[in-house]
Protein backbone atom coordinates (compact mmCIF):
# COMPACT_ATOMS: atom_id res chain seq x y z
CA UNK A 1 0.00 0.00 0.00
CA UNK A 2 0.97 3.59 -0.53
CA UNK A 3 1.41 4.04 3.22
CA UNK A 4 4.51 1.91 3.13
CA UNK A 5 5.98 3.52 0.03
CA UNK A 6 9.14 5.44 0.72
CA UNK A 7 9.00 9.18 0.14
CA UNK A 8 10.68 10.26 -3.08
CA UNK A 9 12.56 13.39 -2.07
CA UNK A 10 13.63 14.07 -5.65
CA UNK A 11 10.05 14.43 -6.83
CA UNK A 12 9.35 16.84 -3.99
CA UNK A 13 12.45 18.86 -4.80
CA UNK A 14 11.47 18.97 -8.47
CA UNK A 15 8.25 20.73 -7.47
CA UNK A 16 10.15 23.14 -5.23
CA UNK A 17 12.63 23.94 -7.98
CA UNK A 18 9.84 24.51 -10.45
CA UNK A 19 8.33 27.00 -8.01
CA UNK A 20 11.62 28.60 -7.05
CA UNK A 21 10.78 32.14 -8.12
CA UNK A 22 12.35 35.47 -7.27
CA UNK A 23 9.20 36.47 -5.42
CA UNK A 24 9.23 33.32 -3.28
CA UNK A 25 12.86 33.99 -2.40
CA UNK A 26 12.10 37.60 -1.58
CA UNK A 27 9.21 36.50 0.65
CA UNK A 28 11.36 34.03 2.56
CA UNK A 29 14.07 36.66 3.06
CA UNK A 30 11.64 39.38 4.07
CA UNK A 31 9.12 38.00 6.53
CA UNK A 32 9.87 39.55 9.91
CA UNK A 33 7.44 37.24 11.76
CA UNK A 34 5.36 40.19 12.90
CA UNK A 35 2.23 38.07 13.23
CA UNK A 36 -0.06 40.54 11.43
CA UNK A 37 -1.38 37.73 9.26
CA UNK A 38 -2.94 35.97 12.27
CA UNK A 39 -6.18 37.86 12.67
CA UNK A 40 -6.81 37.93 8.94
CA UNK A 41 -7.32 34.17 9.01
CA UNK A 42 -10.74 32.75 9.76
CA UNK A 43 -9.20 29.42 10.85
CA UNK A 44 -7.27 31.30 13.50
CA UNK A 45 -10.31 33.32 14.60
CA UNK A 46 -12.68 30.35 14.67
CA UNK A 47 -10.24 28.18 16.62
CA UNK A 48 -10.05 30.51 19.62
CA UNK A 49 -6.96 32.36 18.36
CA UNK A 50 -4.79 29.30 18.84
CA UNK A 51 -1.34 30.34 17.57
CA UNK A 52 -0.90 27.08 15.59
CA UNK A 53 -3.55 28.37 13.21
CA UNK A 54 -1.74 31.58 12.25
CA UNK A 55 -0.80 31.61 8.55
CA UNK A 56 2.98 32.02 8.73
CA UNK A 57 3.22 29.09 11.13
CA UNK A 58 1.24 26.91 8.73
CA UNK A 59 3.53 27.77 5.82
CA UNK A 60 6.53 27.11 7.98
CA UNK A 61 5.27 23.71 9.12
CA UNK A 62 4.60 22.61 5.53
CA UNK A 63 6.65 24.19 2.75
CA UNK A 64 9.19 25.47 5.27
CA UNK A 65 9.90 21.96 6.54
CA UNK A 66 10.06 20.54 3.02
CA UNK A 67 12.61 23.14 1.94
CA UNK A 68 14.64 22.83 5.12
CA UNK A 69 14.85 19.05 4.82
CA UNK A 70 15.34 19.15 1.06
CA UNK A 71 12.31 16.93 0.62
CA UNK A 72 13.75 14.22 2.86
CA UNK A 73 10.81 13.71 5.19
CA UNK A 74 8.91 10.66 6.32
CA UNK A 75 5.46 9.70 5.18
CA UNK A 76 4.21 10.34 8.71
CA UNK A 77 5.54 13.89 8.48
CA UNK A 78 3.80 14.36 5.14
CA UNK A 79 0.56 13.10 6.67
CA UNK A 80 0.89 15.71 9.40
CA UNK A 81 1.55 18.41 6.82
CA UNK A 82 -1.49 17.27 4.89
CA UNK A 83 -3.69 18.11 7.86
CA UNK A 84 -2.29 21.63 7.79
CA UNK A 85 -2.10 22.36 4.06
CA UNK A 86 -5.60 21.08 3.32
CA UNK A 87 -7.44 21.23 6.63
CA UNK A 88 -6.17 24.54 8.03
CA UNK A 89 -6.01 26.68 4.89
CA UNK A 90 -8.36 27.24 1.97
CA UNK A 91 -5.84 29.38 0.07
CA UNK A 92 -8.30 32.28 0.27
CA UNK A 93 -5.39 34.80 0.20
CA UNK A 94 -6.79 37.12 2.82
CA UNK A 95 -3.52 36.98 4.77
CA UNK A 96 -1.58 38.56 1.91
CA UNK A 97 -3.80 41.62 2.29
CA UNK A 98 -2.76 41.95 5.92
CA UNK A 99 0.98 41.36 5.48
CA UNK A 100 3.16 44.50 5.39
CA UNK A 101 5.18 42.84 2.61
CA UNK A 102 2.25 41.28 0.78
CA UNK A 103 3.67 37.80 1.22
CA UNK A 104 1.46 35.15 -0.35
CA UNK A 105 1.14 32.35 2.18
CA UNK A 106 -1.54 30.81 -0.05
CA UNK A 107 0.99 30.35 -2.83
CA UNK A 108 3.35 28.64 -0.40
CA UNK A 109 0.58 26.34 0.80
CA UNK A 110 -0.20 25.58 -2.82
CA UNK A 111 3.41 24.63 -3.49
CA UNK A 112 3.36 22.42 -0.40
CA UNK A 113 0.21 20.74 -1.72
CA UNK A 114 1.91 20.14 -5.06
CA UNK A 115 4.87 18.56 -3.27
CA UNK A 116 2.65 16.23 -1.25
CA UNK A 117 0.51 15.36 -4.24
CA UNK A 118 3.58 13.86 -5.98
CA UNK A 119 3.70 11.37 -3.10
CA UNK A 120 -0.06 10.76 -3.23
CA UNK A 121 -0.45 12.41 0.13
CA UNK A 122 -3.66 14.36 -0.36
CA UNK A 123 -7.27 13.98 0.84
CA UNK A 124 -8.51 10.86 -0.96
CA UNK A 125 -11.56 12.44 -2.52
CA UNK A 126 -9.46 15.08 -4.26
CA UNK A 127 -7.25 12.40 -5.78
CA UNK A 128 -10.33 10.55 -7.03
CA UNK A 129 -11.50 13.77 -8.63
CA UNK A 130 -8.16 14.22 -10.43
CA UNK A 131 -8.71 10.78 -11.90
CA UNK A 132 -12.25 11.63 -12.95
CA UNK A 133 -11.02 14.71 -14.81
CA UNK A 134 -8.53 12.55 -16.70
CA UNK A 135 -11.07 9.86 -17.61
CA UNK A 136 -14.23 11.91 -18.17
CA UNK A 137 -13.12 15.54 -18.44
CA UNK A 138 -15.23 16.43 -15.41
CA UNK A 139 -15.11 15.91 -11.67
CA UNK A 140 -18.22 13.71 -11.39
CA UNK A 141 -17.50 11.00 -13.95
CA UNK A 142 -20.33 12.07 -16.25
CA UNK A 143 -20.04 10.87 -19.87
CA UNK A 144 -20.46 13.72 -22.37
CA UNK A 145 -23.56 12.04 -23.91
CA UNK A 146 -25.25 12.02 -20.54
CA UNK A 147 -24.53 15.72 -20.14
CA UNK A 148 -26.05 16.51 -23.53
CA UNK A 149 -29.12 14.41 -22.71
CA UNK A 150 -29.55 16.25 -19.43
CA UNK A 151 -29.47 19.55 -21.28
CA UNK A 152 -32.06 18.36 -23.79
CA UNK A 153 -34.27 17.14 -20.96
CA UNK A 154 -33.93 20.42 -19.10
CA UNK A 155 -34.76 22.44 -22.19
CA UNK A 156 -37.87 20.38 -22.84
CA UNK A 157 -39.02 20.50 -19.24
CA UNK A 158 -38.24 24.22 -19.07
CA UNK A 159 -40.69 24.95 -21.85
CA UNK A 160 -43.35 24.84 -19.13
CA UNK A 161 -41.69 27.90 -17.65
CA UNK A 162 -40.47 29.67 -20.78
CA UNK A 163 -42.01 29.00 -24.18
CA UNK A 164 -39.62 27.47 -26.75
CA UNK A 165 -36.76 27.35 -24.28
CA UNK A 166 -33.64 26.00 -25.95
CA UNK A 167 -30.28 24.82 -24.71
CA UNK A 168 -28.13 24.99 -27.85
CA UNK A 169 -25.27 22.50 -27.92
CA UNK A 170 -22.15 23.03 -30.04
CA UNK A 171 -23.61 26.00 -31.88
CA UNK A 172 -20.88 27.94 -33.65
CA UNK A 173 -20.14 31.69 -33.64
CA UNK A 174 -22.08 32.47 -30.49
CA UNK A 175 -21.46 35.39 -28.21
CA UNK A 176 -21.39 33.19 -25.11
CA UNK A 177 -20.14 29.67 -24.53
CA UNK A 178 -21.65 28.80 -21.16
CA UNK A 179 -19.88 26.20 -19.03
CA UNK A 180 -21.12 24.64 -15.81
CA UNK A 181 -20.08 22.91 -12.64
CA UNK A 182 -20.67 19.17 -13.12
CA UNK A 183 -22.75 19.24 -9.93
CA UNK A 184 -25.40 20.85 -12.09
CA UNK A 185 -25.99 17.99 -14.55
CA UNK A 186 -25.42 15.52 -11.72
CA UNK A 187 -27.56 16.88 -8.89
CA UNK A 188 -29.05 20.24 -9.81
CA UNK A 189 -30.12 20.15 -13.48
CA UNK A 190 -32.58 22.95 -12.68
CA UNK A 191 -29.55 25.24 -12.44
CA UNK A 192 -28.82 24.67 -16.12
CA UNK A 193 -32.45 25.29 -16.95
CA UNK A 194 -32.56 28.55 -15.01
CA UNK A 195 -29.35 29.89 -16.52
CA UNK A 196 -30.77 28.99 -19.94
CA UNK A 197 -33.98 30.85 -19.12
CA UNK A 198 -32.11 34.01 -18.14
CA UNK A 199 -29.95 33.95 -21.27
CA UNK A 200 -32.91 33.12 -23.49
CA UNK A 201 -35.00 35.92 -21.98
CA UNK A 202 -32.13 38.37 -22.52
CA UNK A 203 -31.98 37.38 -26.19
CA UNK A 204 -28.44 36.06 -25.90
CA UNK A 205 -26.79 34.00 -28.63
CA UNK A 206 -25.24 31.25 -26.60
CA UNK A 207 -24.29 27.61 -26.55
CA UNK A 208 -22.78 24.89 -24.45
CA UNK A 209 -20.04 22.59 -25.74
CA UNK A 210 -20.62 18.84 -25.76
CA UNK A 211 -17.03 18.45 -24.59
CA UNK A 212 -15.14 20.92 -22.46
CA UNK A 213 -18.33 21.90 -20.61
CA UNK A 214 -16.85 21.37 -17.14
CA UNK A 215 -15.97 24.70 -15.54
CA UNK A 216 -14.59 23.47 -12.22
CA UNK A 217 -10.93 22.82 -11.65
CA UNK A 218 -10.42 21.10 -8.33
CA UNK A 219 -7.00 19.89 -9.42
CA UNK A 220 -5.90 23.44 -8.69
CA UNK A 221 -6.55 22.55 -5.06
CA UNK A 222 -5.36 18.94 -5.08
CA UNK A 223 -1.95 20.17 -6.21
CA UNK A 224 -2.06 18.31 -9.51
CA UNK A 225 -1.37 21.21 -11.83
CA UNK A 226 -0.81 18.96 -14.82
CA UNK A 227 -4.42 17.86 -14.72
CA UNK A 228 -5.51 21.41 -13.85
CA UNK A 229 -3.90 22.60 -17.06
CA UNK A 230 -5.57 19.87 -19.11
CA UNK A 231 -9.00 20.80 -17.76
CA UNK A 232 -8.46 24.46 -18.61
CA UNK A 233 -7.09 23.61 -22.03
CA UNK A 234 -10.23 21.58 -22.82
CA UNK A 235 -12.29 24.66 -21.97
CA UNK A 236 -10.22 26.96 -24.19
CA UNK A 237 -10.18 24.41 -27.02
CA UNK A 238 -13.96 24.10 -26.98
CA UNK A 239 -14.39 27.88 -27.20
CA UNK A 240 -11.86 28.18 -30.00
CA UNK A 241 -13.48 25.32 -31.92
CA UNK A 242 -16.93 26.89 -31.61
CA UNK A 243 -15.53 30.37 -32.30
CA UNK A 244 -17.34 31.68 -29.23
CA UNK A 245 -16.63 35.32 -28.32
CA UNK A 246 -16.61 34.67 -24.59
CA UNK A 247 -16.49 31.78 -22.18
CA UNK A 248 -19.02 32.38 -19.42
CA UNK A 249 -18.55 30.49 -16.17
CA UNK A 250 -21.62 29.41 -14.19
CA UNK A 251 -22.14 30.67 -10.65
CA UNK A 252 -19.02 29.01 -9.29
CA UNK A 253 -16.08 30.75 -7.66
CA UNK A 254 -12.92 28.77 -8.23
CA UNK A 255 -13.90 27.90 -11.81
CA UNK A 256 -13.71 31.59 -12.71
CA UNK A 257 -10.36 32.04 -11.00
CA UNK A 258 -8.99 28.94 -12.73
CA UNK A 259 -10.17 29.85 -16.22
CA UNK A 260 -9.40 33.54 -16.11
CA UNK A 261 -6.38 34.04 -13.89
CA UNK A 262 -4.47 30.81 -13.21
CA UNK A 263 -5.32 28.71 -16.26
CA UNK A 264 -3.41 30.91 -18.71
CA UNK A 265 -0.23 30.10 -16.75
CA UNK A 266 -0.87 26.36 -16.49
CA UNK A 267 -1.46 26.27 -20.24
CA UNK A 268 1.36 28.73 -21.02
CA UNK A 269 -0.70 31.34 -22.85
CA UNK A 270 1.20 34.36 -24.16
CA UNK A 271 0.90 37.40 -21.90
CA UNK A 272 -0.81 35.33 -19.23
CA UNK A 273 -4.18 35.92 -20.90
CA UNK A 274 -6.82 33.34 -21.78
CA UNK A 275 -7.09 32.83 -25.58
CA UNK A 276 -10.81 33.54 -25.37
CA UNK A 277 -12.19 36.19 -23.02
CA UNK A 278 -13.49 34.65 -19.79
CA UNK A 279 -16.51 36.12 -18.05
CA UNK A 280 -18.85 34.98 -15.31
CA UNK A 281 -22.60 34.61 -14.77
CA UNK A 282 -22.51 37.40 -12.18
CA UNK A 283 -21.05 39.80 -14.77
CA UNK A 284 -23.36 38.54 -17.51
CA UNK A 285 -26.53 38.90 -15.43
CA UNK A 286 -25.33 42.28 -14.17
CA UNK A 287 -24.97 43.50 -17.75
CA UNK A 288 -28.41 42.14 -18.73
CA UNK A 289 -29.98 44.07 -15.90
CA UNK A 290 -28.01 47.22 -16.55
CA UNK A 291 -28.81 47.19 -20.26
CA UNK A 292 -32.47 46.52 -19.53
CA UNK A 293 -32.43 43.17 -21.33
CA UNK A 294 -34.13 41.58 -18.34
CA UNK A 295 -37.17 43.27 -16.81
CA UNK A 296 -38.41 42.52 -13.31
CA UNK A 297 -41.97 42.14 -12.10
CA UNK A 298 -40.69 43.68 -8.90
CA UNK A 299 -37.55 43.67 -6.79
CA UNK A 300 -36.96 41.06 -4.08
CA UNK A 301 -38.59 42.52 -0.97
CA UNK A 302 -37.12 40.62 2.00
CA UNK A 303 -33.85 41.49 3.68
CA UNK A 304 -31.07 39.62 1.91
CA UNK A 305 -27.28 39.50 2.24
CA UNK A 306 -24.58 38.52 -0.24
CA UNK A 307 -21.81 35.96 0.14
CA UNK A 308 -18.69 37.15 -1.70
CA UNK A 309 -16.87 34.02 -2.85
CA UNK A 310 -13.12 34.57 -2.34
CA UNK A 311 -12.37 33.46 -5.86
CA UNK A 312 -14.78 35.99 -7.34
CA UNK A 313 -14.28 38.96 -5.06
CA UNK A 314 -10.68 38.70 -3.82
CA UNK A 315 -8.94 36.60 -6.46
CA UNK A 316 -11.32 37.97 -9.07
CA UNK A 317 -12.80 41.28 -10.12
CA UNK A 318 -16.48 40.65 -9.33
CA UNK A 319 -16.91 42.10 -5.82
CA UNK A 320 -18.43 45.43 -6.90
CA UNK A 321 -20.28 43.76 -9.80
CA UNK A 322 -22.02 41.32 -7.45
CA UNK A 323 -23.05 44.14 -5.12
CA UNK A 324 -24.35 46.26 -8.00
CA UNK A 325 -26.41 43.31 -9.22
CA UNK A 326 -27.79 42.82 -5.70
CA UNK A 327 -28.87 46.46 -5.66
CA UNK A 328 -30.62 46.09 -9.00
CA UNK A 329 -32.47 42.95 -7.89
CA UNK A 330 -33.23 43.55 -4.22
CA UNK A 331 -34.91 46.26 -2.22
CA UNK A 332 -33.21 45.46 1.05
CA UNK A 333 -29.65 44.32 0.43
CA UNK A 334 -27.55 44.22 3.60
CA UNK A 335 -23.83 43.58 3.00
CA UNK A 336 -21.87 41.48 5.50
CA UNK A 337 -18.96 43.03 7.34
CA UNK A 338 -16.26 42.77 6.12
CA UNK A 339 -17.24 42.25 2.50
CA UNK A 340 -16.05 42.38 -1.14
CA UNK A 341 -12.30 41.81 -1.39
CA UNK A 342 -12.02 41.78 2.41
CA UNK A 343 -14.65 39.09 2.82
CA UNK A 344 -13.89 36.06 4.96
CA UNK A 345 -13.77 32.64 3.33
CA UNK A 346 -16.77 30.49 4.33
CA UNK A 347 -14.48 27.43 4.52
CA UNK A 348 -16.13 25.76 1.55
CA UNK A 349 -13.29 26.73 -0.79
CA UNK A 350 -9.80 25.47 -1.53
CA UNK A 351 -11.11 21.93 -2.05
CA UNK A 352 -12.82 21.69 1.33
CA UNK A 353 -16.33 20.71 0.20
CA UNK A 354 -15.16 17.89 -2.10
CA UNK A 355 -12.80 16.65 0.64
CA UNK A 356 -15.94 15.11 2.08
CA UNK A 357 -17.19 13.81 5.38
CA UNK A 358 -13.75 13.26 6.93
CA UNK A 359 -13.27 17.01 7.03
CA UNK A 360 -16.78 18.13 7.82
CA UNK A 361 -16.18 18.69 11.53
CA UNK A 362 -13.20 20.96 10.80
CA UNK A 363 -15.25 22.79 8.22
CA UNK A 364 -18.10 23.41 10.64
CA UNK A 365 -15.77 24.76 13.33
CA UNK A 366 -13.93 27.09 10.95
CA UNK A 367 -17.16 28.20 9.30
CA UNK A 368 -18.24 29.89 12.51
CA UNK A 369 -16.78 33.19 11.34
CA UNK A 370 -19.05 33.15 8.29
CA UNK A 371 -22.05 32.00 10.33
CA UNK A 372 -21.53 34.95 12.70
CA UNK A 373 -21.20 37.36 9.79
CA UNK A 374 -24.50 36.16 8.35
CA UNK A 375 -26.23 36.28 11.71
CA UNK A 376 -25.12 39.86 12.25
CA UNK A 377 -26.84 41.08 9.08
CA UNK A 378 -30.18 39.82 10.40
CA UNK A 379 -31.12 38.78 6.86
CA UNK A 380 -32.93 35.47 6.36
CA UNK A 381 -31.88 35.14 2.72
CA UNK A 382 -28.30 34.74 1.50
CA UNK A 383 -27.45 35.15 -2.17
CA UNK A 384 -24.54 32.85 -2.95
CA UNK A 385 -23.09 32.81 -6.48
CA UNK A 386 -20.80 29.80 -5.89
CA UNK A 387 -21.46 26.08 -5.57
CA UNK A 388 -18.95 25.35 -2.84
CA UNK A 389 -20.05 28.36 -0.80
CA UNK A 390 -23.66 27.18 -1.27
CA UNK A 391 -22.95 23.74 0.19
CA UNK A 392 -20.99 25.21 3.03
CA UNK A 393 -23.55 27.85 3.94
CA UNK A 394 -26.34 25.27 3.80
CA UNK A 395 -24.32 23.13 6.22
CA UNK A 396 -23.64 26.15 8.43
CA UNK A 397 -27.35 26.89 8.41
CA UNK A 398 -28.02 23.52 10.07
CA UNK A 399 -24.99 23.58 12.33
CA UNK A 400 -25.61 27.06 13.72
CA UNK A 401 -29.44 27.12 13.33
CA UNK A 402 -29.31 30.25 11.20
CA UNK A 403 -32.79 29.78 9.76
CA UNK A 404 -31.76 31.14 6.38
CA UNK A 405 -32.46 30.29 2.76
CA UNK A 406 -29.60 30.18 0.27
CA UNK A 407 -30.30 31.38 -3.28
CA UNK A 408 -28.39 31.81 -6.52
CA UNK A 409 -28.70 34.72 -8.94
CA UNK A 410 -30.29 32.59 -11.65
CA UNK A 411 -32.87 31.28 -9.20
CA UNK A 412 -33.67 34.78 -7.98
CA UNK A 413 -33.82 36.27 -11.47
CA UNK A 414 -36.10 33.49 -12.71
CA UNK A 415 -38.41 34.21 -9.80
CA UNK A 416 -38.48 37.96 -10.39
CA UNK A 417 -38.23 38.44 -14.13
CA UNK A 418 -41.08 39.60 -16.32
CA UNK A 419 -41.09 37.50 -19.47
CA UNK A 420 -42.12 39.23 -22.70
CA UNK A 421 -45.52 37.92 -23.91
CA UNK A 422 -44.10 35.73 -26.69
CA UNK A 423 -41.98 33.83 -24.16
CA UNK A 424 -44.75 33.20 -21.67
CA UNK A 425 -45.91 29.59 -21.60
CA UNK A 426 -49.47 28.95 -22.71
CA UNK A 427 -52.16 29.49 -20.09
CA UNK A 428 -50.07 31.80 -17.93
CA UNK A 429 -50.38 34.88 -20.09
CA UNK A 430 -52.79 36.85 -17.93
CA UNK A 431 -51.87 35.56 -14.52
Amino acid sequence: MSDQMPVNAEEIMAVIERNDTARLRAWLKTCTSCGLCSESCFFYLANDNKPEFMPQYKARKTLGELIKNKGKVTRAQLEEMKEIAWARCTMCRRCSQYCPFGIEIAVMINVARQCMRTQNVCPDRLMTIDQSYVEFGNQMSIPDEEFVETCEWMAEEGQDRLKDLEIPIDKEDCNIMFVVNSREPKYYPQDIQEAAMVMHAAGETWTMPSHGWEATNLSMFSGNLKVAGEVTQALYDAAIKLRAKKICITECGHAYRAAKYEGPYWTKQPGGKAPVEVTHAVQLFHDYMKEGRIKLKHKFKEAITYQHPCNLSRSGDLGPVGEALMDMLCEDFIPMEPHAEWSHCCCGGGGFIPMGADYKRTRMVAGKVKADQIKKTGAKFVLVPCHNCTDQINDLNKEYSLGIKVMSFKELICELMELPPHMQPEGEGDE
Partner: protein, 216 residues
Protein backbone atom coordinates in the same frame (compact mmCIF):
# COMPACT_ATOMS: atom_id res chain seq x y z
CA UNK B 1 42.02 49.48 16.88
CA UNK B 2 40.30 52.80 17.52
CA UNK B 3 41.77 54.26 14.34
CA UNK B 4 40.65 51.27 12.30
CA UNK B 5 37.12 51.22 13.69
CA UNK B 6 36.59 54.95 13.25
CA UNK B 7 38.24 55.02 9.84
CA UNK B 8 38.41 52.20 7.32
CA UNK B 9 35.77 50.05 9.02
CA UNK B 10 33.13 52.70 8.46
CA UNK B 11 33.99 52.78 4.76
CA UNK B 12 34.03 49.01 4.59
CA UNK B 13 30.62 48.86 6.25
CA UNK B 14 29.10 51.34 3.82
CA UNK B 15 30.67 49.52 0.88
CA UNK B 16 29.25 46.19 2.08
CA UNK B 17 25.85 47.79 2.60
CA UNK B 18 25.72 49.31 -0.86
CA UNK B 19 27.36 46.51 -2.83
CA UNK B 20 25.63 43.75 -0.86
CA UNK B 21 22.23 45.33 -1.35
CA UNK B 22 22.88 45.93 -5.03
CA UNK B 23 23.98 42.35 -5.44
CA UNK B 24 20.81 41.09 -3.75
CA UNK B 25 18.57 43.37 -5.78
CA UNK B 26 20.26 42.65 -9.11
CA UNK B 27 20.34 38.89 -8.60
CA UNK B 28 16.66 38.82 -7.63
CA UNK B 29 15.81 41.05 -10.57
CA UNK B 30 17.72 38.82 -12.99
CA UNK B 31 16.10 35.73 -11.58
CA UNK B 32 12.66 37.32 -11.77
CA UNK B 33 13.08 37.86 -15.51
CA UNK B 34 13.23 34.10 -15.80
CA UNK B 35 10.83 32.96 -13.09
CA UNK B 36 8.28 35.72 -12.49
CA UNK B 37 6.58 36.11 -15.83
CA UNK B 38 3.32 36.76 -14.01
CA UNK B 39 4.77 39.97 -12.59
CA UNK B 40 5.94 41.36 -15.93
CA UNK B 41 2.73 40.32 -17.68
CA UNK B 42 0.65 42.33 -15.25
CA UNK B 43 2.99 44.97 -13.85
CA UNK B 44 0.91 47.98 -12.97
CA UNK B 45 2.96 51.05 -11.91
CA UNK B 46 0.03 52.85 -10.30
CA UNK B 47 -0.99 49.86 -8.20
CA UNK B 48 2.63 49.14 -7.30
CA UNK B 49 3.14 52.72 -6.10
CA UNK B 50 -0.19 52.71 -4.27
CA UNK B 51 0.69 49.43 -2.59
CA UNK B 52 4.00 50.85 -1.34
CA UNK B 53 2.64 54.23 -0.34
CA UNK B 54 -0.41 52.96 1.58
CA UNK B 55 1.84 50.77 3.69
CA UNK B 56 4.43 53.51 4.27
CA UNK B 57 1.73 55.77 5.67
CA UNK B 58 0.66 55.31 9.28
CA UNK B 59 -2.89 53.86 9.22
CA UNK B 60 -2.69 53.91 5.42
CA UNK B 61 -3.64 50.25 5.03
CA UNK B 62 -6.55 48.33 6.45
CA UNK B 63 -4.13 46.10 8.34
CA UNK B 64 -2.49 49.12 10.00
CA UNK B 65 -5.90 50.56 10.87
CA UNK B 66 -7.00 47.31 12.48
CA UNK B 67 -3.81 47.12 14.57
CA UNK B 68 -3.38 50.66 15.95
CA UNK B 69 -0.98 49.70 18.76
CA UNK B 70 1.48 47.96 16.49
CA UNK B 71 1.14 50.72 13.91
CA UNK B 72 2.14 53.42 16.38
CA UNK B 73 4.94 51.22 17.74
CA UNK B 74 6.38 50.22 14.41
CA UNK B 75 6.19 53.70 12.85
CA UNK B 76 7.82 55.30 15.91
CA UNK B 77 10.52 52.63 15.68
CA UNK B 78 11.20 53.04 11.98
CA UNK B 79 10.96 56.84 11.76
CA UNK B 80 13.48 57.28 14.59
CA UNK B 81 15.62 54.47 13.23
CA UNK B 82 16.04 56.31 9.94
CA UNK B 83 16.10 59.96 11.03
CA UNK B 84 18.36 59.85 14.09
CA UNK B 85 21.44 58.29 12.45
CA UNK B 86 20.99 60.38 9.29
CA UNK B 87 20.76 63.69 11.12
CA UNK B 88 22.44 63.26 14.50
CA UNK B 89 24.60 66.30 15.25
CA UNK B 90 27.53 64.06 16.13
CA UNK B 91 27.35 62.42 12.72
CA UNK B 92 27.13 65.76 10.90
CA UNK B 93 30.10 67.14 12.81
CA UNK B 94 32.15 64.03 12.10
CA UNK B 95 31.34 64.28 8.43
CA UNK B 96 32.26 67.94 8.29
CA UNK B 97 35.47 67.45 10.29
CA UNK B 98 36.67 64.53 8.18
CA UNK B 99 35.33 65.31 4.73
CA UNK B 100 34.50 68.99 4.87
CA UNK B 101 30.91 68.19 3.94
CA UNK B 102 28.18 70.23 5.54
CA UNK B 103 25.19 68.14 6.43
CA UNK B 104 21.89 69.12 8.05
CA UNK B 105 21.37 67.97 11.60
CA UNK B 106 18.79 67.66 14.33
CA UNK B 107 19.32 69.64 17.54
CA UNK B 108 20.83 67.36 20.19
CA UNK B 109 17.86 67.43 22.61
CA UNK B 110 15.54 66.29 19.80
CA UNK B 111 17.83 63.50 18.61
CA UNK B 112 18.16 62.55 22.25
CA UNK B 113 14.43 62.25 22.76
CA UNK B 114 14.00 60.42 19.48
CA UNK B 115 16.60 57.90 20.61
CA UNK B 116 14.60 57.32 23.76
CA UNK B 117 11.42 56.94 21.72
CA UNK B 118 13.25 54.46 19.51
CA UNK B 119 14.47 52.44 22.48
CA UNK B 120 11.00 52.42 24.01
CA UNK B 121 9.45 51.29 20.70
CA UNK B 122 12.12 48.62 20.34
CA UNK B 123 11.37 47.38 23.83
CA UNK B 124 7.66 47.32 22.99
CA UNK B 125 8.32 45.23 19.88
CA UNK B 126 10.52 42.83 21.85
CA UNK B 127 7.96 42.42 24.62
CA UNK B 128 5.26 41.92 22.00
CA UNK B 129 7.32 39.09 20.49
CA UNK B 130 7.12 37.18 23.73
CA UNK B 131 3.80 38.33 25.12
CA UNK B 132 1.63 37.76 22.05
CA UNK B 133 1.20 34.01 21.46
CA UNK B 134 0.81 34.20 17.67
CA UNK B 135 4.05 36.17 17.43
CA UNK B 136 5.94 34.08 19.97
CA UNK B 137 5.19 30.87 18.08
CA UNK B 138 6.99 32.13 14.96
CA UNK B 139 9.81 33.94 16.75
CA UNK B 140 13.23 32.44 16.14
CA UNK B 141 16.65 33.10 17.59
CA UNK B 142 17.61 35.10 14.53
CA UNK B 143 14.74 37.53 15.12
CA UNK B 144 16.23 38.36 18.51
CA UNK B 145 19.75 38.64 17.07
CA UNK B 146 18.53 41.10 14.46
CA UNK B 147 16.75 43.06 17.18
CA UNK B 148 19.95 43.28 19.23
CA UNK B 149 21.98 44.33 16.17
CA UNK B 150 19.51 47.12 15.47
CA UNK B 151 19.23 48.37 19.04
CA UNK B 152 22.92 48.35 19.98
CA UNK B 153 24.01 51.39 17.93
CA UNK B 154 21.26 53.47 19.53
CA UNK B 155 21.97 52.29 23.03
CA UNK B 156 25.73 52.86 22.71
CA UNK B 157 25.17 56.18 20.94
CA UNK B 158 22.98 57.41 23.76
CA UNK B 159 25.38 56.18 26.44
CA UNK B 160 28.42 57.72 24.80
CA UNK B 161 26.67 61.07 24.22
CA UNK B 162 25.81 61.13 27.90
CA UNK B 163 29.18 59.75 29.01
CA UNK B 164 27.50 56.94 30.91
CA UNK B 165 28.54 53.46 31.98
CA UNK B 166 31.93 53.22 30.22
CA UNK B 167 34.79 55.49 29.28
CA UNK B 168 33.25 57.72 26.55
CA UNK B 169 35.98 56.88 24.02
CA UNK B 170 35.47 53.18 24.51
CA UNK B 171 31.71 53.59 24.33
CA UNK B 172 32.09 55.63 21.16
CA UNK B 173 34.16 52.88 19.63
CA UNK B 174 31.48 50.32 20.56
CA UNK B 175 28.94 52.66 19.02
CA UNK B 176 30.78 52.82 15.70
CA UNK B 177 31.46 49.10 15.81
CA UNK B 178 27.81 48.20 16.38
CA UNK B 179 26.69 50.74 13.79
CA UNK B 180 29.00 49.15 11.24
CA UNK B 181 27.73 45.71 12.20
CA UNK B 182 24.17 46.80 11.53
CA UNK B 183 25.04 48.26 8.12
CA UNK B 184 26.92 45.12 7.15
CA UNK B 185 24.03 42.91 8.23
CA UNK B 186 21.34 44.74 6.27
CA UNK B 187 21.80 42.95 2.92
CA UNK B 188 22.25 39.49 4.43
CA UNK B 189 19.64 39.22 7.19
CA UNK B 190 15.93 39.89 7.66
CA UNK B 191 17.00 43.54 7.73
CA UNK B 192 17.02 43.23 3.94
CA UNK B 193 13.37 44.18 4.17
CA UNK B 194 14.74 47.73 3.95
CA UNK B 195 14.82 47.28 0.18
CA UNK B 196 12.87 44.03 -0.37
CA UNK B 197 9.80 45.81 0.99
CA UNK B 198 9.56 47.85 -2.20
CA UNK B 199 9.93 44.82 -4.44
CA UNK B 200 7.42 42.55 -2.71
CA UNK B 201 4.89 45.35 -2.35
CA UNK B 202 5.20 46.27 -6.02
CA UNK B 203 4.48 42.63 -6.85
CA UNK B 204 1.44 42.21 -4.63
CA UNK B 205 0.04 45.58 -5.70
CA UNK B 206 0.15 44.52 -9.35
CA UNK B 207 -0.99 40.97 -8.62
CA UNK B 208 -4.15 42.15 -6.86
CA UNK B 209 -4.71 44.95 -9.37
CA UNK B 210 -4.91 42.46 -12.21
CA UNK B 211 -7.89 41.03 -10.34
CA UNK B 212 -9.35 44.46 -9.67
CA UNK B 213 -8.64 44.27 -5.95
CA UNK B 214 -6.14 45.71 -3.51
CA UNK B 215 -4.23 45.02 -0.32
CA UNK B 216 -4.58 48.21 1.65
Amino acid sequence: MYAFVNGPLVWIAFAVLVLGSLWQIVSLYKMSKRTDKVFYDHYNPGAAAGSVWAWLTPFGSRSWREHPGLTVGTFAFHVCLILVPLFALGHAVTLEFNRGLSWPSLPDPIADKMTLVFLAAALFLLIRRFAVPQVRIVTECRDIVVWVITVLPFLTGYLSAHKMLLDPDLMLMLHVLSGCLMLICIPFTKLAHVFLFFMTRAFIGSEFARRGTKTW
